[in-house]
Symmetry: C2
């Protein structure tokens, strides 16, 4: 009888699930709307229903499913299996999500936050595969990271390590939702790049960028900026250059502090590809210390499926291969 | 027969040595001029002579000395017992200092860089005692740190981690000797604070600070700045506030990345005491993420003896208690 685990990635707008077999092969990826307004109870019901649905679709019985990996946004207490707080999920405070999902399906559940699950995906099956000292960033609406030191995920005492998005890169910069001024997130996240573009447009007046956004500066996204930049729009290129400079400053600092072998950049913003990556690499080479600047900086390989794949891969380690740390299981 | 280890801290201007017994008690501290111009051979002869001298002074035989801990400035390969490069010691490149000193005395030698040895001192016998996740900074002529994660020193792949002094805090700031612009060292090291003071004096013209320096702006040090600030000199107070702000920015970033329990600040600059510490704590509370801002920030306890005490304490762990990692011994 074949053995499986499920990986689930809960986001503010959608829940994604994937199955993985004992050999680490993944099946089809399914997403459902989160319907976050339904509160923790409603969302958890949807998580359970989605897992049952994907099992049914693949003809997998409860006996064949050995465990579930679950990524949730925000601050997580992985030891206790709790979502401590999630700004993107209304009402989520101290929710014992691992126990609730585990009871609903009848298998053990390992949880962590969505960014760390995506990092696990890249570390085990993506661009971080085979590297011991690797840091995987997600540059999405916000910016977070998963830090691997000697092959192990480093989370810090309160599971609050890796908050590279909230490192100050401009001491008098705009105020971030975290309360700090000039956080990296204000410049290099999806939201930050869109903000930089709107600011630049206020000065410039017109640009291909504005046309691509249908004349509405408010609907500009990081994707619009990258599209305009790749089509030669000077204003958009300047915005990308600015985001890359700030990202380079933060990554050089990270490299100076942690001396990693490899930094993997994922998330929607990395749709920009070499347009963003090349100036980031240059900034790190210019700013980091001699040995630290040798860090390799590469794009992630798993795309938007990284979180669900990582959750499944971690569950596979834990529940099929038995390599994990059982204290993390609820 | 009592057992001892020796701790030696090699600096650009002086070499310090201390003896430690099996119970962790230290004897008198002795310093000699380094005479760095003599090159690696000359300095290593002086290290050996100083160790022999302190043994003789204390009536300790070769049989009673079980090992030596040795801190050297710059980049170290502790596994191979080599000083890779030291900007403060002319001619030091790939010097097998552990082997040379070990052969000279006839005991094993464990080496690391001076900042990490000072961190070991604070971790084992000073302000970091009893804490698992603690970062110990030395704010001296330059700025460096030793990072402890779950009680273990984290050095990075190339032993180049912890370079917090070269994190960018002002993207267009002055150029640092490392090549980067606006490194923390340019603002909060002894040299950085003196530089800020000279800059401020150029604008202001006169100040108590200038009087304290005998009318010569070129002879201002961080100590002069602190003295003037504590005597109410406005210009000096502004310089200290600026240094504290930049240090706070860097420590908030460090706390966001590593989520430590405690940060210990040592080195000559900390002679400023609460004058510097209080605004640094405030900046970290204002800038770090909720859980990360709870990090305790305290001054070091061992003063200028931290490096030699740390080297001795590490040697004691390694050669008397047998808790160390033998691969680090030459």
């Amino acid at each position: 009888m074949s053995q499986y685990v499920a990986g689930v990635d809960v986001g503010g707008t959608k829940i994604a699930a994937i199955l993985m077999d004992a050999a680490g092969r993944t099946g089809a990826w399914i997403t459902w709307p989160t319907e976050a307004a339904g509160g923790p109870g409603g969302v958890i019901e949807r998580i359970i229903a989605l897992i049952k649905f994907i099992m049914e679709q693949n003809g997998i019985t409860e006996q064949q499913l050995l465990g579930i990996g679950l990524g949730v946004p925000g601050l997580v207490n992985s030891r206790e299996g709790k979502s401590v707080f999630s700004p993107n999920l209304p009402g989520w405070r101290d929710i014992p999500v691992a126990a609730m999902v585990g009871r609903g399906i009848g298998v053990p559940v390992i949880i962590d936050n969505d960014v760390r699950m995506a990092a696990w995906g890249e570390k085990l099956l993506g661009a971080g595969r085979g590297w011991d000292d690797v840091i995987c960033l997600t540059l999405g609406t916000g910016i977070g990271s998963g830090i691997f030191i000697q092959g192990k995920m480093f989370k810090g005492r309160d599971e609050s390590a890796g908050e590279i998005g909230h490192v100050t890169v401009e001491k008098d910069g705009p105020r971030c939702s975290c309360g700090n001024l000039g956080c990296l997130e204000m410049y290099a996240s999806g939201r930050g790049i869109a903000r930089l573009a709107r600011e630049a447009l206020e000065q410039a007046g017109s640009s291909l960028l504005l046309e691509l956004a249908g004349g509405d500066a408010g609907s500009i996204t990081a994707a619009t900026v990258c599209q305009a930049a790749s089509q030669g729009d000077h204003l958009a290129q300047q915005v990308v250059a600015k985001a890359a400079m700030y990202l380079g400053i933060a990554l050089a600092g990270l490299a100076n502090i942690l001396n990693p072998q490899r930094i993997v950049l994922g998330g929607g913003v990395m749709g920009a590809g070499e347009l963003l990556l090349e100036p980031v690499r240059r900034a790190v080479r210019e700013r980091a210390m001699p040995l630290n600047r040798e860090v390799e900086i590469v794009t992630a390989e798993l795309g938007e499926r990284a979180g669900a794949i990582g959750a499944a891969a971690l569950a596979r380690q834990e529940f099929i291969l038995g390599e994990g740390r059982s204290k993390w299981i609820w």
